[in-house]
Amino acid sequence: MSRSSRRMFLQGSVGLTVANFVPGTAPFAQAATMEEQTIAAAKAVGKADVNGMIWSPYLVPMKPVIAEFTKETGIGIGAVQEISIFDAPQRAMAEALSRSPQFDFIHIDSNMIPSLASAGYLEPLDEYIKKAGFHLDTVADYGNFMKYEGQTFGIPTDGNVHIQYTRKDLIDDPDNKKRFADKFGVELKVPETWEDNLRLQEFLMDPSKDLYGSGNLRNRANGVTWWYMIFYSAGGFPFDDDMKPTIDTPPGQYAVDLYLQDKKVNHPEAANWGTPQMIPRIAQGHVVSCQYWDGTCKTIANPKQSKTVGQFYFSLVPGSKFTGKMVHRSISSPLAAILINKYSPRKAQAAYLALWLGSGKNSIPIVSDPVNAFNDAWAKEHMKAQPVLNAYTPEGIKAVETNFQVVAPPIYLTGYLEFQDALGKNLSEAYVGQLPAKDVLKKTDNEWNAIIGRIGRNKLKKDLASYKAVMPTKAVPT
């Protein structure tokens, strides 16, 4: 190297070093990727093994990505308590009440964020996000699901949005098409409204061949999720600005009626079936149509797990014209996310690990695992990544992207589980004939008022802003 060029090199280096310390110029000077910045920030807080609560179907596909992070930073996973996503809220709340530092992170339904943050358990992640130059690049406004009272409390690992599954082979069958058109005077196609969906299910079901119209869940724990979709699409919202319940209203009753009509087209044992029973039935071709979590796309598209590869249309969930114009509302629940324990001595390490797992690029192998299919696509980067397209099929990913534009949460308030179970119990009682359909909402209304009284109307009125901020604004996806 000549003398002059050496000087030029040194001058350039000094210039870059200086630029690194000038506020606002860091991204240009460092020119590092988000992932590299996360590693740099994580190295600064030191090595540690972080302990957490996470269900193995979620953890298994994360392990290689975590191993990479451990190699770079020395931050890895220590003890893991395996608890299913459905049982995690109870355990997490027990941790919160005892202010226990046992877990550094918990992997849980993000709808628990208001309750856990109100109980003082959660560490806000905004400072870590800033230090790591991290950006949650989600499809549509999905990133809002991680926020509560303006702060970010979670990093998603699982989109878990509901999409519509309709049997392609059945609705494209010329004989079925003709019979349907003769009977109803309209074309047999993927349903646009809840009423279309029900009619199609009734028409095509054949219990003698173990083919039922619906594959939706109607058990006490999960069934309520379907009610929300119908209710929201009918223009309903569960509370007014004064935190008075507004479910015992025409949109609420419309949702109850449609919810209960599923009994005509669903399997007789659906009243207590959950995912372990229903997913195999969908994948084995015993269902005409349903709205289900998007991960089922991966199962259906995997010939080792499915008898219906290529036999389903994946699309937008049905909507409703109840308000006079078409409104579609999908739902994401439980949305699995990593939350950090405020009382943990290793919260910084756990937070950076969460950011590492929450990068669109890093999470591609996590959401595209065709066997451990619990983590579902949610980042913009996922929507065009080939492994994800392979796992979901391009049609599946298009459906995921479309539904994300109109995705809503269940009740995003402090006391979420209590509100949810009151409604779920009453809907379940009506579904099995223990409670008249007309009493479901009246009874729920009373129970919700008691919950509001107990938690505090003013407290919940404050929460309401966060809930509304998570609701989608589009009536129909573009």
Binding site: S115, T414, Y431, V432, Q434
Partner: protein, 347 residues
């Protein structure tokens, strides 16, 4: 329990009693020697009891009392977990107890729990007794059968629930098997019909815990003295009469013990009910433990959950006191019977 079926202080055989009586008469000091011996025996028994009880009471005070006091604190303070710390909770006196006692959901949970505990306890007893009766006389391969019969008790309840879930579908293997055996289509919806959901858990409970009753009753049957049975046989009593008039009365305290222990255990059944139903379908399986769990850990109403637990604890204490009373009565009647026998032998 001694070989003679006597509960409580050690008994002496009738032959030994006879010898002692003869010795005492010959020495001419019957009342004095007997009194001294009896006093010293009472002292020894008291020492033995204290040596067992004092550490247990100590452990109770150290471990349980703080929990019970904390529970009591919660049940008279309304703590909203999202708003304040537990030490800032508002004192509400007995309001929460009143709330629980007027809560129809709690009332139904009590009814369901009592129905569940009664039916499953009786089921465990009937099957346990049948098995014990078949097994109490030694025979070849007895140990093998014994191991097989106690296996269900060694199975973790949650595993029982998940296995049952796979087998009890309407078109599942159990219904299919029964249909083939009886030759008629047998299709109860074990897991989805709210009218039989609780019975499903009770059947699983019976399968899971019959071995417990079996072990207790087998021990009881084996400990029944042979003499009264042999005497009845000599007098020409039928097997049924021997069973009904000799064995069953002698076994009554053991039966009562088996029933009480099983009932208390069944009242607290949670893992199978939760794993299979989570309180559903509808609210068909919302038993006391399920409702307390939901109130405390799903609704996070820690205070109401604590009040409920206290009420249930009182209910259980009442049941235990009744049981202890009955057991004492049984013991007294047996003691009386043995006293008479001893006197007869002496006479």
């Amino acid at each position: 329990m001694s070989r003679t079926g006597h509960i409580g202080p050690p008994d002496t055989s009738s032959a030994k009693s006879q010898d002692m009586a003869v010795d005492a008469v010959s020495a001419g000091k019957v009342p004095l020697a007997s009194k001294a011996r009896s006093h010293s025996r009472r002292l020894a028994v008291r020492h033995f009891k204290l040596s067992l009880l004092v550490p247990l009471i100590g452990l109770f005070l150290v471990l349980l009392t703080p929990v019970l006091l904390l529970q009591l604190y919660f049940s008279v303070h309304q703590w909203t977990v999202y708003l304040s710390s537990w030490w800032d909770a508002e004192f509400v006196g007995l309001d929460l107890f009143q709330e629980v006692l007027t809560d129809p959901r709690f009332g139904w949970a009590v009814v369901r729990s009592l129905a569940f505990a009664t039916s499953s306890t009786l089921g465990c007893f009937v099957f346990g007794f049948l098995l014990a009766y078949l097994m109490y006389k030694p025979f070849r391969g007895q140990a093998c059968y014994y191991i097989i019969f106690i296996l269900p008790m060694l199975t973790v309840p949650v595993v029982v629930a998940y296995t049952a879930e796979m087998m009890l579908y309407q078109s599942g293997p159990i219904n299919d098997l029964i249909s083939r055996i009886i030759g008629v289509d047998f299709k109860p919806a074990w897991l989805t019909n709210p009218d039989i959901a609780l019975a499903t858990v009770a059947l699983l409970e019976i399968w899971n815990w019959t071995p417990f009753s079996f072990i207790i009753l087998l021990a009881g049957l084996s400990a029944i003295p042979k003499e009264p049975i042999e005497a009845a046989e000599i007098l020409g009593a039928s097997k049924w009469r021997i069973f009904w008039e000799v064995q069953l009365p002698l076994l009554r305290p053991v039966i009562l013990l088996a029933l009480v222990l099983r009932f208390l255990e069944a009242m607290a059944e949670f893992p199978k009910t939760w794993a299979l139903f989570q309180g559903g379908p509808g609210s068909a399986t919302e038993t006391l433990p399920v409702y307390i769990f939901m109130t405390t850990w799903q609704y996070f109403q820690i205070s109401k959950g604590a009040a409920m637990s206290y009420i249930v604890m009182v209910l259980m204490i009442i049941i235990v006191l009744i049981a202890i009373n009955l057991l004492r009565r049984e013991k007294r009647s047996l003691d009386k019977m043995y006293e008479l026998r001893t006197k007869d032998a002496e006479g």
